[in-house]
Symmetry: C2
Subunit: 368 residues, 2 copies
Amino acid sequence: MGSGMLGQPDAETGDITRGELQLATRNHGMPLEALRHDITPVGLHYLLIHYDIPAVDPAAWRLELGGTVRRALTLSLEDLRARPAVTVPVTMECAGNGRAGMSPRTLSQPWLLEAVGTAEWTGTPLAALLEDAGPADGSVEVVFTGDDRGIEGGTEQLYERSLTLEQARRSEVLLAYGVNGAPLPAQHGFPLRLLVPGWYGMTSVKWLRRITVVDEPFTGYQQTRAYRYRQRSEDTGEPVTRMAPRSLMVPPGIPDFFSRRRYLPAGPCLLEGRAWSGWGPITTVEFSDDAGATWQPAAVEAARGRHAWQRWSLRWQPAEPGERQLCCRATDAAGNTQPAEPGWNLGGYSNNAVHRVDVTVRAASRRG
Amino acid sequence: MGSGMLGQPDAETGDITRGELQLATRNHGMPLEALRHDITPVGLHYLLIHYDIPAVDPAAWRLELGGTVRRALTLSLEDLRARPAVTVPVTMECAGNGRAGMSPRTLSQPWLLEAVGTAEWTGTPLAALLEDAGPADGSVEVVFTGDDRGIEGGTEQLYERSLTLEQARRSEVLLAYGVNGAPLPAQHGFPLRLLVPGWYGMTSVKWLRRITVVDEPFTGYQQTRAYRYRQRSEDTGEPVTRMAPRSLMVPPGIPDFFSRRRYLPAGPCLLEGRAWSGWGPITTVEFSDDAGATWQPAAVEAARGRHAWQRWSLRWQPAEPGERQLCCRATDAAGNTQPAEPGWNLGGYSNNAVHRVDVTVRAASRRG
């Protein structure tokens, strides 16, 4: 999940404020070398936590499903585990991924590119539970309430987001209690989280305590103030929903500790990475070794699941030592392509500009 | 582990550079609410990785133990697991924890306070392995070489650190292949890491591939340039070794998303946290609710192990609504106490100043 602090002063690209640092040291990114894993180990998956990680007692915990339903339900973790279970690989990305590449930027979590991960989530489909409760005529949305409490935009709140009834009934939407074969860890929403494949992570509410069917659109902070594409603060804006296409590469060679610049020997080099989109499968990934002046296609593999990223690879051989900027860009089946430069919006959402990696190619014999 | 980039330009306290942000988005801190756990879940334990997380094939992997020994050893992971195993809770902290609180600061990982964690590590004692190899007369140190390669201070290197033979033979020093009951995850050094309880994390070399007994002191970058307490770059400096005493508190109440300021209702409040020192058990933790003007003792529990942090707690009742600065400070059995203000050194190591948490106490009836 990501968030804009609407109403906060903007910052110019360049230095990062102390406030942003406080978030960057709490919220974990996925180091890009972890793109080599089909399934991201839990401790390397990105994490964005708006307030504090709550302590939940699983024995006392119950999920309340109520609102405009014919039969309100109260479910224990055991009740949920006794229902039909599915396990699916899902790529999840923070809506704020790339925010620190926008200028000026709203003050929030200053992600560069690393707010992503793919995990195998286990849970039970939401649709059947909603069916059991029976939304009354006139129901329009379903509100998901987490157990994490804080203040945002001057409002004290539990973290809450909604889906339309139609979105909530999609077959891929799960109530997940497991990840990568184990119970959810505290930081991923123990004991239960929503999982909405294809959408940015803010939708997949963690530490679920309550699901409420409502007959009027939800107007909470995270729905109507945060997570909207706006150019000016007075705009209503369009809601942030599905993930825009993005490709990332495993940075080749070895890094300089501080600058993170990459060094590699001249000679054949296998480049690889992952690409994904919430709008459909990835159809092409292209690669450039001249800062985007010319492009060549990479090989793109099938996904492990409809909502999991796809591996891409390319054998590259730099002709001679020197400085290069390597780039990759993806296009999805809906025809969306990554732009050369960041788009801009007030909340700093969905910056899916081309991934650029500066490298120094050294003579092949060099081994410092 | 932490590192100073000696020779890099300094930065004044205030904004954080883009270079520092690149490290902050890779390296994971422990959100301070996780201080409530005796044993930190693996995905919340701090991580500092100098270069990239290497991909190691455990079947092909071998540990080489050589140098000035009578019998060089080559050990598989199975060989190591067949040896006597111990499991111990150990608190590990990055030497750079608190670096972002120094002014001016060397450009490196800009930790605030969150570079710590306590895990239950499983491994086999190093001393017996050294005994099997038999250091030759005149051996003085043991060099530990990791599999993570990068460039630092202009030098291409595998991450390497040494211990004196005497330090290496201490009974608590382990070669660890497990953490919290599972194999090491990639980011914690899979398949094998050194574990030196009581010392800052840079000592506990991850992704171990080679142990070399040497008859001259090791002069590698991480030993003689980084991780030394210096006032000027031309100083030789003293080596960074054991952890200075530190106490941290679970920030009470609820946070503001961006500022992380804490809000809590007037009325009784249980404050808790953890304290540790590499120089001996914690003897006292003191608490202040007036920015350090007056102090009162907190209750301090016994540790789960000689090298694990100790829980402290205190029932606090703010007299009336208003702004407060809460502080805690620890003293260890060797008589070391946390200072009111940060000390300073070029590498930004061991800033163990008093933990300060600004809170707003609200009237008890208030529930926004």
